[in-house]
Amino acid sequence: MEIWRWDRFFEVWPYIGEGLVTTITYTLLGSVVAYVLGLIFAVVRQLRIPVVDQILWGFIEFVRSTPLLVQVFFLFHVLRPELLSGTGVDLSTQRLIVGTAAVGIHYACYTSEVYRAGIEAVPRGQWEAATALSIPGMRVWTGIILPQAVPRVLPALGNYTIAMFKEVPLLFTIGVLDIVFYVKTVFASDVGGAGPEAWFAAGLTFLALSYPCSLLVRRLERRVGTV
């Protein structure tokens, strides 16, 4: 068998296109979960509630130290049958829920660290001035602390979205129809096997999207600084 087939290299692109939409959808939805949940984690940890703080810290460390792939298996094969089976939600929606939740929670454990650094970079005097003016707790966060913390964390959040984009493909293991699924399964069965040229094309696709994005993030970093 030939190692490299140019005809296959050109034939694979429509398949990649099909999967790319799904990959991007999951990345964006996962990012929303990671941005919101990470912020909640960071704020809750900042409140330093005994017990809650230690539990959350342990959870974050554990999730960050273990493979996303196994976490996906756990959510899909253990939690999903418990929580979603029999709810009438169809399987592809269940995949969407499990996939975005898994990716979103995993990356929330990273973004919470980003927010935390952003919040800690806000000078103590800002908290004290807010106290001196008796501004209520909720408003201190939404009006004073977060508006100063968030712009500085944007580049780091962007970096994590890019990382997520490159990790979302592992969701093909639970049947998500992304790029890897299309190349490995659909394209392979149509032409009788996906060779290195098909995977090279898939790799190029990821590169072509993530490289310009990281250049943009670097420019943003120069504009707003880093945490």
């Binding site: 001035a129 008796s134 004073i144 508006p147």
Partner: protein, 254 residues
């Protein structure tokens, strides 16, 4: 207005305030002087409830600051009680601590709207008057970052006044300013002190200012009030050798 009753403050092993007793009557202008590290800032921060007392009680307008009276027994104050207590007192910080994400007007209206529950119109009306008073009517929409240090400090003063406090705490409000800006801010404070009946507790190294405006000066050392007297007496004929030494050191430097 303000009374410290056997107040002790420790940070870990370090005792900063030792069995402190003093009081300030309504409408008085009291200056706190003393060497660096003697605990002056700590007193103001305790009053603003930015720190908790270790022992003893602070009373503001007769009510204990750290405890509240619940069905006749004293219980530790909760956040709601503290927020009520803080409304009586305003504070101006050495580093201004303006909110950089809000313009000048918003900085001044934020407190009245959020904690006093005033309407936006009413708060802005009042804020404009105060900014007029501190001479910054033309900077309403500027961000703090676009102002000089002196201008920022004047906004901070307007911001504290907007809360209509009955007591004002000033912590070395001119020490972060360039020398040529100091006089303007001090003049402003003197005018405010003369034209209102707000009680002032003011930490300063500006001895001339202390002498000009205060009703009483307290010399502070190692967590105790060393001397408490009218300015004329304290600056010309202090009772303690330590006070004399301190005044010499400060005045020589100036």
């Amino acid at each position: 207005m303000i009374r410290f009753d056997n107040v002790v403050k420790r940070f870990g092993d370090l005792t900063v305030l030792e069995d402190l007793n003093f009081s300030v009557t309504p409408g008085e202008f009291v200056c706190l002087i003393g060497p660096s590290g003697s605990g002056k800032t700590t007193i103001l921060r305790l009053l603003m409830t930015l720190e908790k007392v270790t022992e003893g009680t602070i009373y503001v307008e007769g009510r204990p600051l750290s405890h509240m009276d619940r069905n006749g027994s004293l219980t530790p104050a909760d956040e709601k009680y503290l927020r009520e207590a803080r409304k009586t007192i305003g504070m101006v910080f050495q580093q201004f601590n303006l909110f950089p994400n809000m313009n000048v007007l918003r900085n001044v209206t934020e407190g009245p709207i959020r904690s006093l529950g005033k309407s936006r119109d009413e708060a802005e009306q009042k804020a404009k008057e105060l900014l007029e008073l501190v001479g910054l009517s033309d900077k309403l929409t500027a961000k703090p970052g676009q102002l000089s240090g002196g201008q920022q400090q004047r906004v901070a003063i307007a911001r504290a006044l907007a809360m209509e406090p009955r007591g004002m705490l000033l912590d070395e409000v001119t020490s972060a300013l360039d020398p040529e800006l100091v006089t303007g801010v001090l003049h402003l404070l003197k005018d405010i002190a003369d034209s209102t009946d707000i009680t002032f507790l003011c930490v300063t190294h500006e001895m001339q200012f202390a002498r000009d405006v205060s009703d009483r000066v307290m010399m502070f050392d190692s967590g105790r009030v060393l001397e408490d007297a009218a300015p004329e007496k304290l600056f010309t004929d202090p009772d303690h050798e330590r006070t004399r030494g301190f005044l010499h050191a400060v005045l020589d430097r100036a």
